[in-house]
Symmetry: C2
Subunit: 308 residues, 2 copies
């Protein structure tokens, strides 16, 4: 079976944890050990988020800007693909060799095509980077678009356009079909757009679940496995009447999405990615927790999303 495993942020760093090298390494080691059961008999591509990491790179760029020229968002995404991809590939290889399996792990820098006419550019909604006070926010208004992030302060927002095509899609397909484990489209991929027949980077971020479904379609994956910090999809999540769904069909998924059951930037893009994949020939999406995922999939702690 050909699987895309989309790792959520908690695969790298747990909520509230300091993002030190040793914490990253500890979590990534654990994550790699959890997904090992899928590696042996399947063709696997791994994608991952990078929100906190990009946030840190942004903050470093901002604080050091008088000494080191700041790099734009697309370059920071490339840096985060390096950072996370390396640690994932290193630790996954270690887990593979420990079990005397023979598989290569390879990380591909991945560019993802977006359209400059995407409506997201007219109404940026994706919060990134550090929080600012109101005073700082006013000062930064010429440089960034700043919005209030609930009660936590002011923050930069950027567009999160729809991924159209994975530039390295055919190569990823070739590699995974040859039996290699491929880490790709980290952080949703490096956003690029076409201008005068050349691709150049765009200052925005792409949702990693939507990039994963885009890639899943291109490599003709059998399964999109989205691993996150809840064990399954819930209706009325966090409320008294919350209800876990162990199965979900396309029609219901669309209905619940429309009814606003799924939080923006959290479960919503996962459901949108699932709908996109299943609607375009994908057989199955599974959404589950990252911890003891093998056990979860054997039991009922997951949501299976299929066409019917």
């Amino acid at each position: 079976m050909k699987i895309i495993i989309a790792l959520g942020g908690n695969a790298l760093i747990k909520k509230g944890e300091k993002e030190t090298y040793s914490n990253l390494l500890k979590n990534i080691k654990k994550t790699c050990s959890s997904i090992i059961p899928f590696i042996k008999n399947n063709k696997v591509v791994i994608t991952h988020g990078s929100g906190p990491q990009i946030g840190n790179l942004l903050l470093q760029n901002e604080i050091a800007r008088k000494k080191v020229p700041e790099m734009p968002l697309d370059v920071l995404n490339a840096e985060s693909e390096g950072l996370i991809g390396y640690l994932l590939q290193e630790q996954l290889s270690n887990e593979i060799h420990k079990r005397k399996m023979h598989k290569n792990v390879v990380t591909l820098l991945t560019e993802v095509l977006v359209s400059k006419n995407d409506p997201a550019f007219k109404n940026p909604t994706k919060f990134i980077g550090p929080f600012y006070t109101k005073k700082q926010a006013i000062k930064l208004k010429n440089k960034f678009i700043i919005k209030k992030d609930s009660n936590r302060g002011y923050r930069r927002v950027v567009a999160s356009p729809k991924p159209i095509k994975i530039i390295e899609g055919s190569l990823i397909k070739e590699l995974v079909n040859s039996g290699h484990i491929v880490i790709a489209a980290g952080g949703g991929g490096i956003p690029v757009a076409s201008k005068n027949k050349r691709l150049t980077g765009v200052k925005c971020v792409i949702d990693k679940d939507l990039a994963s479904s885009c890639l899943a379609k291109e490599i003709k994956a059998d399964l999109l496995l989205i691993l996150t910090d809840v064990d399954k999809v819930y209706l009325n999540y966090g409320k008294k009447n919350q209800k876990g769904l162990s199965r979900l069909n396309l029609r219901d998924a669309k209905k619940y999405l429309k009814e606003g059951h799924f939080a923006a930037g959290s479960m919503k893009p996962k459901i949108e990615a699932s709908i996109d994949f299943v609607e375009h020939g994908g057989k199955k999406v599974i959404i589950s927790g990252i911890n003891s995922v093998e056990k979860a999939l054997k039991g009922n702690n997951r949501t299976i999303i299929k066409k019917t």
Copy 2:
């Protein structure tokens, strides 16, 4: 023909230039346009240095360390592979498509095995990162090894051990043999060492020319093309009696190296890499300038290094 093109630092940023995104992009565009003539009829792997970029990442980490946990050198190398690899792959693809050629460009995060027993760890000599005053240097002595860098100030030194094996070597070979252009071993590769049968990162840097010859041997390249900021190899370089060499055999290369003709961290590792490659079955090394390299190779502005 199978070629490794090793790009020197001036392929990315010129001496004295500010390392802004626009300067990087401008230089990389030009570099890609220069190497296009080699792309069409050959199998090509591109390697590159990343000294100034790692220096900048180090500086950002240091300045922002109270807000963002610092990452170790191996992770910064991975970040720089992301940063530079992305821009190289993007611009090289643009130049390829402009000429209606059909080649994929792919960047692989590359780990390189070093030995923890390498003598370099006992006597670190590679200067990296920002300059410090004597006062700052004394303060940092518990954290880093600091040495005086000629008259320019104090600087951190790290070990530069010998590359033993390119971890992704077989994959790079597979990809380049299939006709893809591969960008790999950026900045000399991410240094890793084996401990209890697991690979983990090492806080050091690997010379990119030595990593390139290591890779050239593994993929059985026909030619190692080292592009730098001089047009050829010189004896008594920079002196009144300097003498350019258009050809160099293995015996003379070793002799001149021993005589101290080649500067450490500059021409010396290039000659060492050349000797290493030619001595282990490599047919030919060419050292030349990055500008108008095609013309240079047709004329006499290059040094060809062969066994005899």
